[in-house]
C-alpha cells in the first residue's frame, strides 16, 4: 500500500476567515509572533497499486476535478515516504 497526500489550500487572494480566527486566538493563548495563519485540507489517499507516474497523474486529475475547487483553491500532490 502506498500513500499519496493531497494538500488543498485556499488561493492566497481568497479571504480565509477561519485562518484569521485562529491567528487572532493565538496571542490570547500566549503564542506570540505569528503574523498570518491559513487553514487548509489534507487528503491521505491509500493507493492499491504502485505509485508510478500514471497513478500520480490520476491523483492530480482527482484533485483538479473533485478534491479541490480550482476557482478558489490550489492543491499539491506528494508521495508520503515510508516510515
Amino acid at each position: 500500500m502506498a500513500r499519496v497526500v493531497v494538500d488543498v489550500m485556499l488561493k492566497p487572494e481568497i479571504l480565509d476567515p477561519q485562518g484569521q480566527a485562529v491567528q487572532r486566538a493565538l496571542p490570547r493563548l500566549g503564542f506570540d509572533g505569528v503574523s498570518d495563519v491559513r487553514q487548509g485540507k489534507r487528503f491521505e489517499l491509500e493507493l492499491a497499486g504502485p505509485v508510478d507516474d500514471a497513478a500520480l497523474d490520476r491523483v492530480r486529475e482527482m484533485a483538479r476535478t473533485f478534491l479541490a475547487n480550482t476557482v478558489i483553491e490550489d492543491f499539491r500532490v506528494r508521495v508520503e515516504e515510508e516510515q
Binding site: L10, E13, I14, L15, P17, Q18, A21, F66, L67, N69, V71, I72
Partner: protein, 225 residues
C-alpha cells in the same frame, strides 16, 4: 397543458418542500425529482433547492454536483432549460461550472439568518421577468457559506454583461464580492442566488410575498416560449 417545474431532492435537502409549494402557488405543476434518477420526467424547468446536501463534507455542493440527475441538468441547461439554484443549489451550480465563481465561508464565520433586502439588477432572466428592473425586495436569507467570490476579471465580465441579477442592500451579510447575491449565465436561463424566495410566497409564513415572482416569471416565460 400544465407547465411542469421539477424540484430535486438531494440527501440533506431541506427546502425542497417549500420550493414545490411555491411552484404550486404560482400556478404550475410541481414535480418532485430524486438526485439519483437521471430522468427529468418531462419537466419544463428545474429548481435546485437549499439545504445541506451531502457534498458539504468536502465543499458545499461538491459531491451533490456528481449526482446522476445533475448530468442531465447540466446537459439540458446548455440547451436552454431554465434552472434556478437557491442557496445550496447556487453552490451546486457554481461547482458544476454552470455559473462562474464560488461560494466561501461567511467572512464573519457565523451562520446568518435574516430577512434580507435585495435589489433586482436584471429583470430579463427566465426567473426574474415578473420583477421591475431596480425593484427592491425582501426575502429570507440563511447561510454559513454564502460569500460569493470570483477573480476580478470574472466580476468585471459579470457586471459588464448585466449578469449580476441581485445585489444585497443595507448590509452585506457574508462578505460577497461587490455585494453580489445572485448571478445568471450568459443565456439567462440559469440563475443562482443565496437568499430564499421560496420562503417568501405567503403572508402567513414569510416576511413578504416578494419571492413569488420568481416562480410566476418562469411560468410566463415557458408559456410564451
Amino acid at each position: 397543458m400544465t407547465t411542469r417545474v421539477g424540484v430535486v431532492t438531494f440527501p440533506g435537502s431541506l427546502d425542497d418542500r417549500d420550493a414545490l409549494r411555491a411552484v404550486k402557488l404560482a400556478g404550475a405543476e410541481p414535480v418532485a425529482l430524486w438526485h439519483a434518477d437521471k430522468d427529468l420526467h418531462q419537466v419544463d424547468a428545474v429548481i435546485l433547492p437549499g439545504g445541506f446536501s451531502y457534498g458539504d463534507y468536502l465543499r458545499c455542493g461538491a459531491i451533490a454536483r456528481f449526482s446522476p440527475v445533475m448530468e442531465t441538468i447540466i446537459e439540458q441547461s446548455r440547451a436552454g432549460l431554465p434552472v434556478l439554484g437557491i442557496c445550496n443549489g447556487f453552490q451546486l451550480l457554481c461547482e458544476s461550472h454552470l455559473l462562474p465563481g464560488a461560494l466561501t465561508r461567511n467572512d464573519h464565520l457565523h451562520f446568518i439568518c435574516r430577512d434580507q433586502r435585495l435589489r433586482v439588477e436584471n429583470a430579463e432572466t427566465a426567473w426574474t421577468g415578473d420583477y421591475a428592473p431596480g425593484q427592491e425586495i425582501t426575502i429570507p436569507l440563511k447561510n454559513g457559506e454564502g460569500g460569493y467570490v470570483a477573480d476580478e476579471r470574472t466580476l468585471d465580465e459579470l457586471e459588464a454583461e448585466g449578469r449580476v441579477v441581485f445585489r444585497y442592500l443595507d448590509v452585506n451579510p457574508n462578505g460577497s464580492r461587490r455585494d453580489i447575491a445572485g448571478i445568471t449565465n450568459a443565456a439567462g436561463n440559469v440563475v443562482g442566488l443565496m437568499p430564499h424566495p421560496e420562503h417568501a410566497v405567503e403572508a402567513l409564513t414569510g416576511p413578504t410575498t416578494d419571492g413569488l415572482p420568481f416562480f410566476t416569471s418562469v411560468l410566463k416565460k415557458l408559456v410564451s416560449a
